[in-house]
Subunit: 337 residues, 2 copies
């Protein structure tokens, strides 16, 4: 059992800006897990928000020695070992989890959604992300988003209202809003959200910094649309404490350490009556197709990270009429272009 | 796709008495799911406590028409249909869930524990149940339980203390206690439990009737050993409301409607920091082996329902040195004797 890591750069179609900063290139890492002649693919999309870079991912993966195991099916044992090598490093850990899941699916000749007992014919609409930009460029992007029925708009900057008004001038599509921790007081967040409600916004993601979780029940009582946790939720054990703070959680494989924890989080959120959203970083079709395996049991999807790039080295889940379309290929359902 | 149901009687080694009543024979129902030449086995062990009998199970299964589906892997769709046919009927529903899981494992040539990514070499100790009986017979049973390292003692009758003292005279084995809703006030339960703590009891199951869940946080604060929910918890959505009331939950497939909901319940309980116990009814090696598939991720097992019988028509999970030993046979790992 062996795993290799290869850095690669995803080029962005447009400079991508959120409340924390801008970028044109997204460095990612391809993992390949080989055993008994079968190769499983995984991917890490490291995020500075969580203290990861290409270097930290490569350094972490160098420490992962899978030769001590002999059965890739034993995910609990292998992932407990990987998880225990160091705290954090969630994207690096996810890249191992994804490669093992892909290998298992290929070994059994089954897509993961089928192994998990999901209805793979379900087609969940995915939103298309409109980053923070000059107003003319935002107009242009909204027109480019023509194939998508839902827009996810990044806000959390002083001219939030202007951004939303510009979009509403061009389209009456469903809008979801992501503040990325960009509002700094609960009162400011309340005022913004009450205004966004009037613009027909469906829900708001992460209005306040994760460190302000304690203010969220107050904020939630002041507004009428769902509030979804993103930066506030990483793994399973975070969920119970958020029950009064948020209406739902955004599960991203790069935060959750992968599919295994992600699936557990779906179950825990559903037990608590919380909505499940699937989110992503800027990442290739490997990680997007992995997250899409969970789409039959999710409420909302924002799985467009691969679509925002121009040189995705893999193909996998497709989008038709704005909806994710799972395929019947084994594992994550991906192949090299 | 076709499912058939065949009633059969399990004969009990000894008359089995708990706080609700006695019996010598346990009527069960074998289900056989056939598709593409592969047969998957399931079982219903109906319980009067939950309003089920052989007749209600057979009547329910007559209404289950699986010919409308073409993929047994699509558990979510099939089990949603089965679940929606009528409320309750949880053992009947479990018998379908088990047969489908067994079929999937056989189709893929893999035991379920392996498909779920569990460490199948883990050996969880199971308790052996000592029902309510005359004191001499209890002594005899405790001696018969020699291969087991943990005794689960049924109490909830006026002479609880006498039962425990009789057992403690014969053995210093670990004792767990199941009151089966048998104590009727929170003060009585407190007094009993404080006394049981002095006898070295590890935990107490279902001290009060399920209808008294609201008294449980008070009781929990008065005692020092874990309190485990049994009759108070059926399915996933029951768990969040029990977080302050109990330290853990007893998952029984005949309550949960089967393995799919059972696995979800494991994840939800773990997210909330609650212990997971696997329990059973009097049932054959089919349902016991099914529950044992979850044992690598459980904290406690009480999977002895098949051992209490003399005519188990199937073999499956074995017990060695008091611990459950999973096998590598596909699906539930069972075969006809």
């Amino acid at each position: 059992m062996n795993i290799t890591a290869t850095p690669f750069d995803l080029r962005l179609r447009h400079t991508f800006t959120i409340s924390r900063g801008s970028r044109d290139i997204e460095p990612c890492i391809l993992t390949e897990f080989e055993h008994e002649g079968i190769v499983g693919y995984g991917e890490a999309a490291p995020s500075a928000r969580y203290g990861e870079t290409t270097d930290t991912v490569i350094a972490f993966l160098r420490r992962v020695d899978l030769r001590r195991f002999n059965d890739p099916f034993d995910l609990d044992t292998i992932l407990a070992y990987v998880g225990g090598l160091a705290p954090g490093n969630t994207a690096a850990k996810a890249s191992v989890d994804l490669a093992l899941h892909d290998w298992i699916g290929r070994r059994l000749g089954q897509p993961l959604w089928r192994l998990w007992g999901f209805d793979g014919t379900k087609r969940l609409q995915t939103s298309f992300t409109i980053g923070i930009d000059s107003l003319p460029l935002i107009e242009k992007k909204v027109r480019e988003a023509e194939p998508y029925n839902i827009l996810k708009v990044k806000v959390g900057v002083p001219n939030d209202e202007e951004i939303i008004r510009t979009i509403r001038k061009v389209t009456d599509k469903l809008i979801r809003v992501d503040a990325n921790e960009g509002w700094s007081t609960k009162e400011a967040a309340r005022d913004k959200i009450l205004w966004l409600e009037e613009q027909g916004v469906e829900f708001v993601e992460q209005p306040l910094p994760a460190a302000m979780n304690r203010d969220m029940p107050w904020l939630r009582a002041q507004v009428h649309i769902p509030l979804i946790a993103d930066e506030s939720v990483m793994v399973l054990s975070d969920i119970p404490g958020l029950r009064d703070a948020f209406d739902g959680i955004n599960i991203k494989l790069m935060k959750s350490t992968g599919l295994r924890e992600g699936l557990r989080m779906v179950h825990a959120a559903q037990a608590m009556g919380m909505k499940v959203m699937l989110g992503c970083m800027i990442e290739s079709s490997i990680a997007i197709s992995a997250a899409a395996q969970l789409s039959p049991v999710a409420d909302y999807a924002d799985l467009d990270g691969n679509i925002l790039t121009t040189n995705d080295p893999f193909s996998g889940v497709r989008v038709e009429e704005g909806a994710l379309v799972l395929n019947y290929a084994p594992g994550l359902g991906v192949e090299r272009r």
